[in-house]
Amino acid sequence: MSIFMLHLHAWIHALASSALGHALWMVVPVLVVFPALFAVTTLLERKGLGRIQNRYGPNRAGPWGLLQPMADAIKALTKEDVVPEAADRLVHFCAPVLMVLSAFLVYAVVPVSRTWVVAPLRAGVLFFFAAGSLMEIAVFMAGWSSRSQYSLLGAMRALAQMISYEIPLVLSAMVAVMAAGSLSMVEIVRRQAGYSGIWPHWFVLTPWGLAGFVLFLIAATAESNRSPFDLPEGESEIIAGYYIEYSGFKFALFFLAEYLGMFAISALGITLFLGGWSAPFAFLTWIPSWIWFFAKLLALIAGFIWIRGTLPRLRMDQLMRFAWEFLLPLTLCHLFVAGVWKFFPTGAARWLGCAGVLLAVYWLLGRRLEQSGGLARRTYHFAE
């Protein structure tokens, strides 16, 4: 017995030191931690939304409803898997697989802690967006292959939205890339991990960084199809959008992919603007770096839930107008401001000047958006 244990021990050591073992050591935690976070988040989201609406939220399964994710998982796994008669079976099957695949793929470049990053690519940010764009294909496949008007409408909406909001998303991310001078996510975090006194060098603490972070969050909300940009799956309009014809485990996969996408884009936001795994104050660096990463991630998730509990869904024309007439010009100005920042001497004048320009542009564009009638109440001739 002891000999067997010894062998096992040696084998584990050999595995851990090999390249494959190293890869497993990096990859397996990602495959375990983030889905677990998904389970926790579904519960927290339902609880939080409940409290926002003065309800209790789920409190039946286990103490305080803590076992609700288990109950949901068992329900999803034991449900009948229904495929529509007219569906394109192969594409219908591939869509959720591709969706989850792309959702997991983006975690490869996310630096979760000082040492934990699966693939420290030189073009990490680009990899993130490239892998994320596969999700659009998956959405299209799901919507088209189901042969249902609702899912096709949902897919069309989702694609129009994702393509429109990808531009402000990438442009606002470019600011951090410009400041760090690198597309590598590891490098971007390293540039923010220093301290002046006790204050960190996070990009969000500069006017362009704060503006970039807000713009990034808005575009990220739209990109991950979360309320108020959840038109692709608007329950009251097109039921569940592109995944209406999925049931059981495949539906659960879509759900998983959606939440993984939200976590991933939050992780990107943290990496680009919130200093990744670095501690918020110099005297707190003794706390392990991954704790800071997940603390920031949970804070952003709470923000997403808060937004979802507050804002109603946009109309399609408002959504498009907001992307093209407001976000896009604003991100372009913002990119310019962030570029000019480098050429001015450090000081309060630079700070106030940049903030002033950004606020002025915001005010002007906002006024135009409000006056152009895009946000005004619309009278419906046939619906009343």
Binding site: V91, L121, R122, A123, L126, F127, F129, A130, A131, S133, L134, E136, I137, F140, M141, W144, L152, M156, L159, I163, E166, L183
Partner: protein
Amino acid sequence: MSGEFFLAAGLTVAGALAAMILRNLIHCVLALVAGFAGLAVIYLQLGAQFVGLAQIFVYAGAVAILAAFVILLTQGVEHRTRPAAVLDWVVGALLACGVFAMLAWAIAKSVQFLPQATQRPDAGVRAIGNAMLHQFVLPLEVVGLLLTAALIGAVLTAMRDEEAGA
């Protein structure tokens, strides 16, 4: 010429073939995405991270979706029009041969093809950026202008249609 290269090349060729052969236009688009992905893998194997990822981001992501959109918005997916006539086949084959011959000529003439150029060129983002904004800044601007003109032209065409229809 490793196994991975043949896998990626096989994926590319199979995707491209399927994109031509399949009856259902949406299936063609999806096959095209597979082809783009294979091409991106080849770029990545050559150490060109930026080009490979941009290939996925732009082509597999945006361009394929655009093609799918166009197919869905213009005509029925199911029924294709009559099979191509013999003349179309001949013209198509001639065009393909012409393009292939031109590419082959260009590649054979280039210095890179010679065996001594084994040193891997730096295809990092910084190198590409420097090349684009210093050495090739004029071509870049010209291409940008061309694309803008094309975009404006497309918008104008679409607007005129709308006016005529209304």
